[in-house]
């Protein structure tokens, strides 16, 4: 493994995550990926390992550790775990449900949900995207109308990570249609609430073991005490979620890039063509040199963001830049690794084609590459 800015303890977390993933999460991963099957057993093992609770307060059962430790753990999982969908599912649970409840929730909300989210007893996610509101997320149509001490939610959501398995979802809906982004609020909706239903699981190119689905809200009554934050704070909650996700989830991509790089170096040293190791051909060695460059730059950007978040700082620009660079680097490195391995890379017998399929998703979720560029441009005053 490469030297990092991690402390010895954080480096140990990364090593333990690598050993844990190899031992507990990888058996059967390829077959599950082919079937698009979520691993309930893997989820439980991750929860027992403590992954959902790394940064959560100890009073709710978390480990109370810092952001860099979470990043180190995610790097380890990304490096070793062949079930990328499971890792993505866990990250959605952590950054789009557990973390916002911890940051914005009332004490009763925290007491009610955090301990069970941390132990993995219940699974969470958030429901933002709609059929007509993707990148333009705040143009959503889902409505939440106040009726006494309750809200009536109506609308539909799509491409919702964890929807088919979630026990609770953080649903974003319009409470004040005249206010645009400032008229959106967030609600904790429990599975089984009358009027709440989940559609068929959606089939995807990559991250196939992560359940993804539609959510329907038809006169779904949610008590006022389940509103997260004040009315109109939905955009702030969503932006905070995305900043955390961009700062931590993409550590798994960095871990995967480290692994792919090592495999390419090894292969380029072993594989002989035209009487020499292919690594002696500049067409191959330069590709690998560029992969190394992208991996190390990704590490610098990610650790800078994680450092800012660990210090309690805001990092909207830095997290957007890191997310953009890491996700695009991962796609490029996965593409190059496949090319270096030739037909073996293209074969489904190995992980290179899966890495590429999984990597492409990173340019879309947590805000597309184009949205990250919009954020960067906005901060430049453009």
């Amino acid at each position: 493994m490469e030297p990092t800015t991690f402390t010895t303890e954080q480096e140990n977390f990364k090593r333990m995550a690598i050993e844990f993933a190899r031992r507990e999460l990888n058996p059967g991963a390829k077959e599950r990926e082919r079937r698009g099957e979520f691993s309930e057993a893997g989820w439980r093992k991750c929860a027992e390992f403590g992954i959902p609770g790394i940064t959560m307060p100890e009073e709710y059962g978390g480990l109370g550790l810092d952001t860099m430790t979470a990043v180190a753990t995610m790097e380890g999982l990304g490096y070793a775990c062949r079930d990328s969908g499971l890792i993505f599912s866990l990250n959605s649970h952590i950054w789009t449900c557990e973390s916002p409840i911890n940051r914005f929730g009332t004490e009763p909300q925290k007491q009610r949900y955090l301990p069970r989210l941390i132990t993995g007893e219940i699974k969470g996610g958030h429901a933002m995207t709609e059929p007509e509101a993707g990148s333009d997320a705040f143009s959503m149509r889902c409505r939440a109308e106040k009726r006494g001490d309750r809200y009536l939610l109506n609308g539909s959501k799509t491409f919702i990570t964890n929807a088919p398995i979630a026990d609770i979802l953080l649903v974003f809906a319009v409470t004040d249609p005249g206010k645009g982004f400032a008229g959106i609020s967030a609600f904790i909706v429990e599975k089984g609430t009358p009027g709440f239903s989940v559609g068929r699981p959606l089939d995807t190119m990559g991250l196939r073991t992560c359940p993804l689905g539609e959510v329907f809200l038809a006169d779904c009554e949610v008590p006022e005490e389940n509103r997260l934050g004040s009315e109109g704070s939905g955009a702030a909650i969503f932006n905070a979620e995305m900043e955390w996700e961009r700062s931590c989830l993409f550590a798994a991509h960095l871990g995967a890039m480290e692994k792919i790089l090592e495999e390419c170096v090894e292969y380029a040293r072993q594989r002989r063509q035209f009487g020499q190791a292919i690594g002696k051909c500049q067409s191959v060695s330069h590709k690998i040199a560029d992969m190394k460059l992208r991996t190390e730059l990704s590490r610098l950007m990610l650790h800078r963001v994680a450092g800012l978040k660990s210090a309690g700082r805001r990092a909207p620009l830095e997290s957007a830049m890191a997310k953009l660079f890491i996700s695009e680097s991962y796609v490029q490195n996965a593409t190059d690794a496949l090319q270096i391995h030739g037909a073996y890379g293209y074969s489904t017998e190995f992980d290179f084609e899966r890495n590429l399929r999984d990597a492409i998703a990173g340019k879309i979720y947590s805000g597309t590459s184009e949205i990250q560029r919009n954020i960067i441009a906005t901060f430049l005053g453009l």
């Binding site: 914005f104 206010k179 400032a182 901060f379």
Partner: protein, 85 residues
């Protein structure tokens, strides 16, 4: 208590309102209704306020009532600076 209305207005007019006649804002103009502060813009405004006034704004404080108008932003900054002392 200091009045930071002009400082904040100057930033918003110069950096966020842009060309096209949106400048010359009154303290009570709705920044949201006029489309001057959107979901990305509010993040930039917060970054500016944190740097300019050397303070930290919590995620839970990013609510419409603090960013609806220049006057509301100035009042919020006064409150934050008062809490720092």
């Amino acid at each position: 208590m200091a009045d930071y209305t002009d400082t904040i207005r100057s930033f918003i007019e110069k950096e966020m309102a842009g060309p096209g006649g949106k400048a010359s804002l009154s303290p009570s103009d709705s920044l949201i209704d006029k489309g001057i502060v959107d979901s990305l813009g509010v993040q930039r405004l917060i970054a500016y306020l944190e740097k300019e006034f050397d303070l930290q704004i919590a995620d839970t404080e990013i609510v419409p009532e603090h960013f609806e108008t220049i006057s509301a932003v100035a009042q919020f900054i006064n409150f934050k600076l008062g809490a720092k002392v």
